[in-house]
Amino acid sequence: MDDQLRNEEQNGTSRRSFLKQTSLMTALALAPETVLKAAESGLDEKIAAAIETMPLNVVINGVKQSVRIEPRVTLLDLLRERLQLTGTKKGCDHGQCGACTVHIDGERVNACLTLALTTEGREVTTIEGLAHGDELHPMQEAFLEHDGFQCGYCTPGQIMSAICCIREGHAGTPDEVREYMSGNICRCGAYSNIVDAIMDVKQGGKKI
C-alpha cells in the first residue's frame, strides 16, 4: 500500500480530470470549488486514496497484515503485487486453472476469484506458509520425492489443493484424488506423479 501511495504522489498527471470523473467524487460535486482547490494543491490523490481505498486486516501465514486497498483488488493481486508473496501463481485470472489456490480459514479457494476485502478478519495460508524453517510440509516433501512437477508454476496451487483434498476426505483412492484434483491444471503433465505424491502422504498418515 505504501508503494501505491508513493506512486500516486510521484505521478501527478491528470489528477484534476481524475477528480472530476471519479464516480465516488460525485457526492463532492456539490462543492466543486473546494474540490478543484484541493486538486490544485495536489491533495487530490490523497483524497482519492482515502475515498477509493478501504482498510483490510487479514492474517496471512500467521502474520497480521493491515493495508488499505481498492475494493476491486483480488486476493491474488494483493499477494503478488503488494505483499510480494509471489508463490501464489496467476495462470488464468478466471478460476479455471487453480494455480492461485490458497487456504482461507483452512479451505482451498481460488485467490483470483476472491476480492481481497472479503478476507477481512480471516486467516489466509499460502505456499510460503507451509514449511517450518527448513523443514518442509509433508506434501512439499512428497511432491519433491515423486517429482510431481516440471516447470513448477502450478505446483504451489497443486500442493495447497492436495492438502485440502486429503483433509476433506477426498483421497480414498487414486481415482478419487484425480477427480478432486481436477481443478488444478498442470500443463507439463505431472498428474501421474502428483497422484502418487498425494496417495503417499495420505497413506503416511501424518496430520497435515
Binding site: 501505491q4 506512486n7 500516486e8 510521484q10 505521478n11 498527471t13 491528470s14 480530470s17 481524475f18 470523473q21 481498492e70 476491486r72 493481486d77 510480494q84 508473496l85 509471489t86 508463490g87 501464489t88 501463481k89 496467476k90 488464468c92 485470472d93 479455471q96 486453472c97 499460502t126 505456499i127 510460503e128 507451509l130 518442509l136 512439499q140 511432491f143 519433491l144 520425492e145 517429482d147 512437477f149 516440471q150 516447470c151 513448477g152 508454476y153 502450478c154 505446483t155 504451489p156 500442493i159 484424488v177 484425480r178 477427480e179 484434483m181 481436477s182 481443478g183 488444478n184 491444471i185 500443463r187 507439463c188 503433465g189 505431472a190 498428474y191 501421474s192 506423479n193 502428483i194 497422484v195
Partner: protein, 723 residues
C-alpha cells in the same frame, strides 16, 4: 559416461525452490517504481483502424501513457527492415505492433496502456474505443487451399521409381487427416518486465526458451550492443515452444519503458495468449499407401497443408517422418502452407512431427488391418534397418527391443485383435500403438566451470529451463565426470551474460549443453592434474605423491578458484550417421458405446533415446508428453468462428487441456543404452518423442474398441457417435 552404467534417479536440484514458492518467474521480481502495461486488442480480423479514442483512458487515474499506432515510439531495428514479405509465400505486409493502422488478425493489439497499478491499467484499457474500416477476412484454411504455396524449407521429396506405387500396389488405402489449432497454454501467463538502466542499457525479466535469442532480438530492435541487454529467465513456467520467439508485444513494452523511463511489466491475459504467442497450426493431410498382400510396404504418398499468417511464413517438419520411418521403396511427400488472417503459429511440442505422426501412424494401423496383420508385426516387417531417406546407418536404433518391451508390459498379445471384440461391463475396450521419432540434434554450447576453494563447483551456461530439469541433468553429468558430491555442484542458467548456448527447443538441451558440461568438467580434471590435484571421494585431494591441498595450491597461484570455459559441438559423426530418438506408445482405452466418451485407461510408453542422464526427470518428461498427447487426441481444439475470424474458446474453461481425471497412471520404460555417436554422454533427446505419435495410439485404440476410424482430432464423443 557413454557406457552402460546407469544414472541414479535424483530429486530436482531446483525442486525445493519450486515446492516452497521461492522460485521466481519473470513477473515476480520486486522493482521500485514498477508500472503495469495492459493491451487493448482488435475486435475485427482484417481492415484498418478508422478512429481510436484514448482520451478517457489517458484521463483515468494513475495512467502514464496510452500508446497506439499514432504515438508509439519508433523501434529503430524495425524501421530499418523492408515492410513487405514479397519474397515469401505468405507475401503480405509485415506485422509491427502499433506500427500502423492496419489490422492483420483478430486480437492484434491496438493500444498499450501503462499505469501505476495493475487495476488502474486494466480499467483505463477498458476505456479505449476504436472504430474500424473492415475488409473481408480469410481465416478458413479449407476455403483458401488455392493459396497453398511451397515454402522455402521442406521442398517436395520423392524416392523410388514407381511414382504411383501407392495406387498400383495389390493393397491400397487412402484417407485425409485433420489436426485443429492447438494452443501451448503453459500455466504461466506470457509477458515481460522491462527496465532501462540507462539510455542504451536494457534489463528484462523474460518468459523465454532462449535467453541469448531474446538478447539478440532486443539488441537488434533497439540497435544497441548485445552486451547492453541483460536477459534474466531462471525459472520459466512452461513453454512448449511458445517461448522460442521474442514476440512483438515484448519489444513494444521495452519501447514504452524506454520512453517513460520507468520499469514496465506486461502480463498478458490467457485470452490474448491464444492469438499472440503462437499455436500448433491447423493442418490437413492426405496419405495414400500401397502394400503387398504379405504386408510389405510398396509406396507412400503424404501431403500436408498447414496454415500460416498473412505476414509470416511458419513451417515445420510435418511430413519428415514419412520419408525414413519405414523400409518403403517408393515415397513422395509434399508440404504446403496457406497464408491466412490469423496470428502466426509457432512450434508446439513435438511440433510438425507430432502432426505428421498422427496421420502416418493411423495409416500404418489401417494398412496392417487391411493386410490382416498385427499392427506391431506390420511395423517390424517394414522396419528400416538403415535410414532410407539419407542412405546412412542410424547412430543407434533399438526400436525392435522397444516394441517387445512395451507390448509385453501392456499385454498386447493377450488382446483379441478383432475390432469391437473386447468389453469391460458396458464399455468397449481397445488397444492401440504407435511410433514416434524426432531428430537427435546437438548444437554448439559453452560452459564455464568455477571450482572454489571450499570445494564447491559452479557451472554456468546461458541456456534456459522450461521445466524438463536442465540443472538437475547438468549437475548429474558433472557429478559423473568429476565424482564430486551432488550437493557441491551448482548449475546456473537463465542469464544471457553467461557463456553462450542455444535455445531450449527441439529436444537438444542435454545433448548440446550437457556436452559442454562434460567437456568443461573433463578439462577441469586435466587442469587439476597439472596442479597435482584430483577429484576423489566426492571432493578434491592431492594426487599420490603430492601433499599440497587445493587451498594451498590456489594460495600459491594467487587465486581464489580454478576456472575453465569450454565450447563444445559435434564433429564428423554428425554427417556420417542418421541420428534419431524413438518412442513407442501403447494405449488401452475404454469407449462408451452410447455416449461416445473415450477414456484412456492405461499407458505404456517406451523411449529409445540413448543413455538416460537423469532418470527421474526423464520419466517426468515422458509422462508429461503422454499427457499432452492425451489432450491432442481427445480434448484440445481452439475453435475459430470464421464469420468473425475469432477464437470462441480462448480460455482454459472452454479449451480443454487434460486435467488429472483425464490421465491414468502412465508407465515409462527406457531402453537406456548409450548412442555411440550422439555426444559424450551417449544421450538423445526426449521432450518431443514423448508426445509424437501418441495421438495415433489413442486413435488406433479407438478403432480396435469400436471398428471406427476417427481421422480428425480431437476424438470427441460426437465424432464417435456419427462415424
Amino acid at each position: 559416461m557413454g557406457t552402460d552404467k546407469k544414472s541414479e534417479p535424483l530429486n530436482r536440484v531446483d525442486g525445493r525452490a519450486k515446492v516452497t514458492g521461492k522460485a521466481k518467474y519473470f513477473a515476480e521480481f520486486e522493482v521500485p517504481g514498477l508500472t503495469y502495461a495492459v493491451m487493448v486488442t482488435s475486435t475485427i480480423t482484417r481492415g484498418t483502424i478508422a478512429t481510436i479514442d484514448t482520451k478517457n483512458a489517458e484521463r483515468a487515474p494513475g495512467v502514464l501513457a496510452v500508446y497506439t499506432h499514432l504515438n508509439m515510439p519508433a523501434i529503430p531495428g524495425w524501421a530499418d527492415q523492408p515492410n513487405s514479405n514479397a519474397k515469401l509465400p505468405s507475401g503480405g505486409e509485415k506485422y509491427r505492433m502499433l506500427g500502423s493502422n492496419k489490422i492483420l488478425f483478430n486480437g492484434q493489439p491496438i493500444a498499450l496502456v501503462v499505469a501505476n497499478t495493475l487495476e488502474r491499467a486494466q480499467y483505463a484499457a477498458s476505456l479505449v474505443t476504436a472504430s474500424y474500416n473492415k475488409t473481408e477476412h480469410q481465416t478458413d484454411l479449407l476455403k483458401n487451399t488455392q493459396k497453398a504455396a511451397m515454402p522455402g524449407r521442406f521442398g517436395d521429396y520423392t524416392r523410388g521409381e514407381q511414382k504411383e506405387a501407392y495406387k498400383t500396389a495389390p493393397v491400397t488405402i487412402a484417407a485425409d487427416y485433420t489436426i485443429p489449432v492447438e494452443v501451448h497454454n503453459p500455466m504461466e501467463l506470457a509477458g515481460i518486465l522491462a527496465i532501462w538502466e540507462g539510455e542504451d542499457q536494457l534489463k528484462v525479466y523474460a518468459k523465454t526458451q532462449g535467453v541469448k535469442a531474446t538478447q539478440r532480438t532486443l539488441a537488434g530492435a533497439f540497435k544497441i550492443p548485445e552486451k547492453n541487454v541483460q536477459v534474466h529467465s531462471e525459472f520459466v513456467g512452461g513453454g512448449f515452444g511458445m517461448g522460442l520467439r521474442t514476440w512483438p508485444q515484448e519489444v513494444a513494452v521495452a519501447a514504452a519503458a524506454r520512453q517513460l523511463k520507468k520499469p514496465v511489466k506486461l502480463v498478458m491475459t490467457r485470452q490474448q495468449m491464444f492469438s499472440l504467442v503462437g499455436h500448433r497450426p491447423y493442418t490437413v493431410q492426405h496419405i495414400s499407401m500401397g502394400a503387398d498382400k504379405d504386408g510389405q510396404l510398396q509406396g507412400i504418398y503424404h501431403e500436408a497443408t498447414a496454415e500460416t499468417a498473412s505476414y509470416d511464413d511458419f513451417t515445420e517438419g510435418t511430413v519428415a517422418m514419412t520419408r525414413f520411418m519405414y523400409a518403403c521403396p517408393n515415397v513422395t511427400t509434399k508440404y504446403r502452407i496457406v497464408p491466412l488472417d490469423r496470428g502466426v503459429p509457432i512450434w508446439m511440442r513435438g511440433p510438425g512431427e507430432a502432426t505428421g505422426a498422427f496421420a502416418l501412424e493411423s495409416a500404418i494401423d489401417e494398412m496392417a488391418y487391411k493386410v490382416n496383420m498385427d499392427p506391431l508385426d506390420f511395423r517390424v516387417k517394414n522396419f528400416a534397418e538403415t535410414d532410407p531417406e539419407k542412405n546412412k546407418p542410424f547412430s543407434s536404433n533399438n526400436l525392435k527391443e522397444a516394441y517387445q518391451l512395451g507390448s509385453e508390459k501392456i499385454g498386447w498379445n493377450k488382446r483379441d485383435r478383432t475390432p469391437g471384440s473386447m468389453k469391460d461391463g458396458e464399455w468397449l475396450v481397445g488397444y492401440g500403438m504407435s511410433t514416434g521419432v524426432f531428430g537427435a540434434h546437438r548444437g554448439e554450447s559453452t560452459c564455464r566451470a568455477q571450482l572454489n576453494a571450499d570445494g564447491t563447483l559452479i557451472l554456468q551456461s546461458a541456456t534456459s529451463d522450461i521445466g524438463p530439469g536442465t540443472s538437475t541433468a547438468m549437475v548429474q553429468i558433472a557429478h559423473e565426470v568429476t565424482g564430486l558430491s551432488i550437493n557441491k555442484i551448482r548449475f546456473e542458467l537463465g542469464d544471457a551474460s553467461l557463456p553462450p548456448s542455444g535455445s531450449q527447443g527441439g529436444s537438444a538441451t542435454v545433448s548440446s549443453v550437457g556436452s559442454a558440461v562434460f567437456d568443461t568438467c573433463t578439462a577441469l580434471k586435466a587442469l587439476l592434474a597439472e596442479a597435482g590435484l584430483a577429484f576423489e571421494e566426492g571432493t578434491v585431494k592431492p594426487v599420490t605423491g603430492k601433499t599440497a591441498t587445493m587451498q594451498q595450491v590456489l594460495a600459491t597461484q594467487n587465486k581464489t578458484f580454478f576456472e575453465v570455459t569450454k565450447s563444445s559441438k559435434g564433429g564428423a559423426e554428425q554427417d556420417k550417421y542418421s541420428m534419431y530418438s524413438f518412442s513407442i506408445h501403447f494405449a488401452e482405452v475404454r469407449v462408451h458405446p452410447h455416449t461416445g466418451v473415450v477414456r484412456v485407461k492405461r499407458v505404456v510408453t517406451v523411449a529409445d533415446s540413448g543413455r538416460i542422464v537423469s532418470p527421474k526427470t526423464a520419466a517426468s518428461q515422458m509422462i508429461g508428453g503422454v499427457t499432452g498427447g492425451i489432450g491432442m487426441a481427445l480434448t484440445e481444439e481452439a475453435v475459430i468462428d470464421h464469420r468473425f475470424g475469432r477464437f470462441v474458446n480462448n480460455n482454459l474453461g472452454d479449451y480443454h487441456v487434460p486435467v488429472s481425471a483425464d490421465v491414468p497412471h502412465i508407465e515409462t520404460i527406457f531402453i537406456d543404452k548409450p548412442d555411440p555417436y550422439s555426444n559424450p554422454m551417449g544421450s538423445k533427446g526426449m521432450g518431443e518423442i514423448a508426445l509424437i505419435g501418441f495421438s495415433a495410439a489413442v486413435a488406433n485404440a479407438v478403432y480396435h474398441a469400436t471398428g471406427k476410424r476417427i481421422r480428425e482430432l480431437p476424438i470427441t464423443p460426437d465424432k464417435i457417435l456419427s462415424a
